[in-house]
Amino acid sequence: MEAGPRPGPRICEGDCAVLKRDDVFKAVPVLRRRKIIFEKQWFYLDNAIGHTYGTTFEVTSGGNLQPKQEVEETTTETKEAGTDNRNIVDDGKSQKLTHDDIKALKDKGIKGQEIVQQLIENSTTFRDKTEFAQDKYIKKKKKKYEAVITIVKPSTRILSTMYYAREPGKINHLRYDTLAQMLTLGNIRAGNKMIVMETCAGLVLGAVMERMGGYGSIIQMYPGGGPVRAATSCFGFPKPFFDNLHEFPLSKVDSLLSGTFSTETLPSEPEENTLVEEESNGLTDEKQISLQETEEETTTETAMEINQTEEQDTMDMNTEDGEFKENKEKESKDNVREKQRKQWERRKKLIETAALLTKKNADGLIVASKFHPTPLLLSLLEFVAPSRPFVVYCQYKEPLLECYTKLRERGGVINLKLSETWLRNYQVLPDRSHPKLTMSGGGGYLLSGITVVLDKGKSDSSHLEALKMEEPSSKRCKVQDLHC
């Protein structure tokens, strides 16, 4: 019963796809003849190209992918099963197949399903287990021997789950439910003009871009030489999405706010080094995402990646070979012109972005970085219009406490809320439902609020506002509060 090709988006060469096995994800670029390692298996993605996203594959002995054939579950004849484990002794001897036997089966190319069946037949205690225990046993063996991989299309849901599981350090331990709250609290939607400041490898930026659907504009504030957008490229956004994505260096924010902004001193190093840095930032991150498992592959990966950046190679050429001198002179003249053009472009863009910021009419602010949130908020809020939401993420609670207090002093914000979400997942099976894991505290904290028109130079009224906005206190304490 061959069903026709499934409808839906297809896996294309050049895409960023996510490999999935049970709850383990890994983002990889879809390239031919590129060896991938995932969950202790080596394979090439070539055969996957052209299939629909969501297809499940098996790894053949040659390292190729093959779509998994749908197998009908063997009809459950009343299996022999026990009632409890009072007589089951765990002496490690109940499985008659040895490690070598199993290896032999695997080498023969026997399918995982067969191996599981063999294991069941050669287990002396299997028929004594309860039905539930048998189910659990089969599931466990299947997980180990039936290696199936699903290729899924990246999305905020998938990438945020992947990053939190694989590389939480890269995203400041921002758990995916916390990210979900940020997107909603910030009213992220098509048409907004957002300011985003993040050091989460570009994951937060990508999530914001996904929810904006290419409409509106985003100004990404960045520390150092350039923004890191490694995760952003995993989303696979179409090119037009990047037309309204701007960036602006944090190091220029003060000058912008004080009116002394100029493009004379661009942040950090000259042009091509910055480009290389950005490039390698992206590469390094990508490298770390897709090659966490072996060092061996790392070197081949790096070599191939670097070969792709030919432009950089010609710019960084350092040869002193006399033969090439003439060509090099001509080339270096072209390079200089190209460099100047690029620098002029960069300056132009910077001025444009500065103009966008100084309008002070952004529709929202999202902050999720390793830096102390207070200075970021106090300055970046200046660019946000009144009656707009802002959300700040911090891995720790304490900096947000200070932030809260400083914001109260500043005024111009209402509805401040410091929150945290706890996440609990459940196993739901007939007669076997129970919670699995509770995730709390490790997902970070959020401070959110709404901007209002700022009454400048009226510290009294802002203090009064602060009091008004506080928890209603008993009448008796009201006078004392003023002196707290």
Binding site: P7, G8, E70, L185, G213, L401, N415, S419
Partner: protein, 301 residues
């Protein structure tokens, strides 16, 4: 103003949010000639609201003041008139992300209820997506339609008055995602599946009781849904206050050497001290499911 686009100034016909202070606010329909009573006095729409910038402070007749805010689905959720129990932004957030909703998505929802989730969904799928929402209570369906009209989003939503368990969503093979918040969601899974695109989509069901969750999970499995996950999300809000704790008088050491580091005569050694607000919200249960893989429903072919 609209719930899917920001405006700068308050206009006649807008729905605005009046913010009085900590957790105290209410929605108001801006209308020429109308007045609104607040505990700080009267707000005259024609002079105090219309033409003012959103986020402005408005002084009321008795001298107190309020802020006028631009509506958002989140503010609406906190202030809308309840006709049924509603979903709050914490759950709405995780639902939105897990259903992978974004501009252009087509979503089906039942029951519409008081429209809390509906407004959030509309905001997320705008300007090119659509929400098909089904409500079996005639008055609630009509009230929802009215609100969507008033809020400038009627072009993004279709309200159908029928029983989703009997008659489905009224559309087929077009949805990217389906959401159920009804007493017997397992009865609607089949209809949900036919509403979803042929290539598959995501479904989420929300139930307060674990028994409902169990039955729904089973139904999802029967209909060929895969990657079924059950989640619960709890919001904890922290109360931040600056207080000063009194330093105890431990007396003074003999003469010059005051060995304690603290200057006990200075009463204000303060620092921000946070206090946990009351109990966390009561938990609700959510179910999620992944791609509907047509191949795995092998029975029909």
């Amino acid at each position: 103003m609209s719930f899917v686009e920001y405006g700068d100034t308050i206009k006649d016909g807008d729905t605005a949010i009046v913010f009085l202070g900590h957790e105290s606010m209410f929605p108001v329909k801006v209308q020429h000639g109308t007045v609104t009573q607040t505990k700080y006095g009267v707000i005259r729409h024609s002079t105090d609201l219309i033409g003012k910038k959103y986020g402005s402070k408005v002084t009321c007749s008795k001298g107190g003041w309020v802020f006028i805010l631009h509506p958002t689905p989140e503010l609406w959720t906190m202030n809308l008139p309840h006709r049924t129990q509603i979903l709050y932004s914490t759950d709405i957030s995780i639902i939105t992300m897990m259903l992978e909703l974004k501009p252009g998505s087509i979503v089906c929802e039942s029951g519409t209820g008081s429209g809390s989730l509906s407004h959030a969904l509309i905001r997320t799928v705008a300007p090119t997506g659509h929400l098909y929402t089904v409500e079996f209570h005639q008055q609630r369906a009509e009230k929802a339609r009215e609100e969507f009209r008033e809020h400038g989003v009627e072009h993004l939503v279709t309200v159908t008055n029928q029983d989703v368990c009997k008659n489905g969503f009224g559309v087929s093979n077009i949805a990217d995602a389906v959401f159920l918040d009804i007493p017997s969601p397992w009865e609607a899974i089949g209809h949900a599946k036919s509403a979803l695109k042929a290539e598959g989509g995501r479904i989420c069901s929300f139930s307060p009781c674990i028994e409902q969750v169990q039955r729904t999970c089973l139904a999802m499995e029967e209909y060929g849904f895969t990657e079924i996950n059950t989640l619960e999300i709890l919001l904890r809000v922290y109360n931040v206050r600056t207080i000063s704790l009194q330093i105890p008088d431990l007396g003074k050491a003999a003469e010059d050497n005051s060995s304690t580091g603290f200057d006990s005569s200075n009463p204000s050694n303060q620092g921000p001290l946070q206090v946990l607000e009351g109990p966390a919200r009561s938990p609700w249960n959510l179910l999620f499911s992944g791609l509907n893989n047509p191949n795995s429903v092998s029975l029909s072919s």
